[in-house]
């Protein structure tokens, strides 16, 4: 498990550093790239938790699609090359305080609720059902317990597409 811990902290560090850069970077495209780093590291954390299918999904959808969407959005709104001082509100300190406060509260609650020693992760976190693979297990779950949300997702996506087309079209 040592290696896992090492990797956990490594990825956590990447996540946190990149996330901070996402919200502080002076360049929108850089921010988007830091977001890629966050997402990739989060995917790695998923792998550590043996949720390989979600990890792959994270790469396919988040990195492969949503980031591209972001980059398009950025390029379509004419981001400037180089840094841009205007990206952050002047009252950022206030926001930082809020965020810190929030973290204090949450952190306290978490540590309080889930004592370190009481909540070690199971040794083998792989979730594999009869079919023998993580994806099949996910599928089984979707097609039994979560059938309705699954169909709802499709409707939701449809709505998103219709909405976005209506919005983005030149009239």
């Amino acid at each position: 498990m040592v290696a896992q811990s090492v990797f956990f902290y490594l990825f956590a560090a990447i996540i946190l550093f990149s996330a901070v850069r996402v919200v502080t970077s002076n360049n929108v495209v850089h921010a988007a790239l830091y977001l890629v780093a966050v997402l990739a590291a989060v995917a790695a954390e998923y792998v550590l938790l043996a949720a390989e299918f979600v990890a792959a999904t994270q790469i396919l959808v988040y990195i492969g699609a949503i980031i591209v969407l972001f980059l398009f959005g950025i390029m379509l709104t004419r981001a400037k090359l180089g840094s841009d001082q205007d990206l952050t509100h002047s009252h950022w300190a206030l926001s930082a305080a809020t965020a810190l406060l929030m973290f204090g509260v949450m952190g306290y609650a978490l540590v309080d609720q889930f004592h370190w020693t009481a909540t070690p992760m199971p040794a083998d976190t792989r979730l594999v059902s009869v079919a023998g693979s993580n994806s099949a297990t996910v599928s089984d779950s979707v097609f039994t317990a979560y059938l309705v949300p699954f169909e709802v997702v499709s409707v939701l996506l449809l709505a998103a597409v219709v909405g976005a087309i209506v919005l983005a079209r030149k009239d």
């Binding site: 996402v22 921010a31 954390e45 979600v54 994270q58 950025i74 509100h89 950022w92 979730l127 996506l157």
Partner: protein, 102 residues
């Protein structure tokens, strides 16, 4: 320390969440705000997966999938709105469009 603990993941999630919140509050650029929201959603997903792994339930993964799907829809619509704003105002700074909120 040999083991991974649930709390590690939860705290990581919490930190990411708060960074996201900071981003949402502090950023002026609408695209950046959307990115910050992605951070928040990822924080949520970390928690979901961690709990799922902890309890030995696949539901965490499934929910994470749904969250990703919803995130996709959210970004899609969000960016469409940003583009609309941009087209009308040539700017994506959020306080320039404060009247939108009202």
């Amino acid at each position: 320390m040999d083991d991974l603990f649930l709390n590690q993941f939860l705290l990581l999630g919490a930190m990411l969440f708060c960074i996201g919140v900071y981003g949402v509050l502090a950023r002026r650029n609408a695209v950046l705000v959307l990115m910050s929201i992605e951070l928040i959603l990822n924080a949520v997903n970390i928690n979901l997966i961690a709990f799922g792994a902890f309890w030995g339930s696949i539901a965490g993964s499934v929910f994470a999938l749904f969250v990703i799907a919803i995130a996709a829809a959210e970004v899609g619509v969000g960016l469409a709105i940003v583009l609309l704003i941009y087209r009308n105002r040539r700017s994506v700074a959020l306080d320039d469009v404060a009247e939108m909120k009202g």
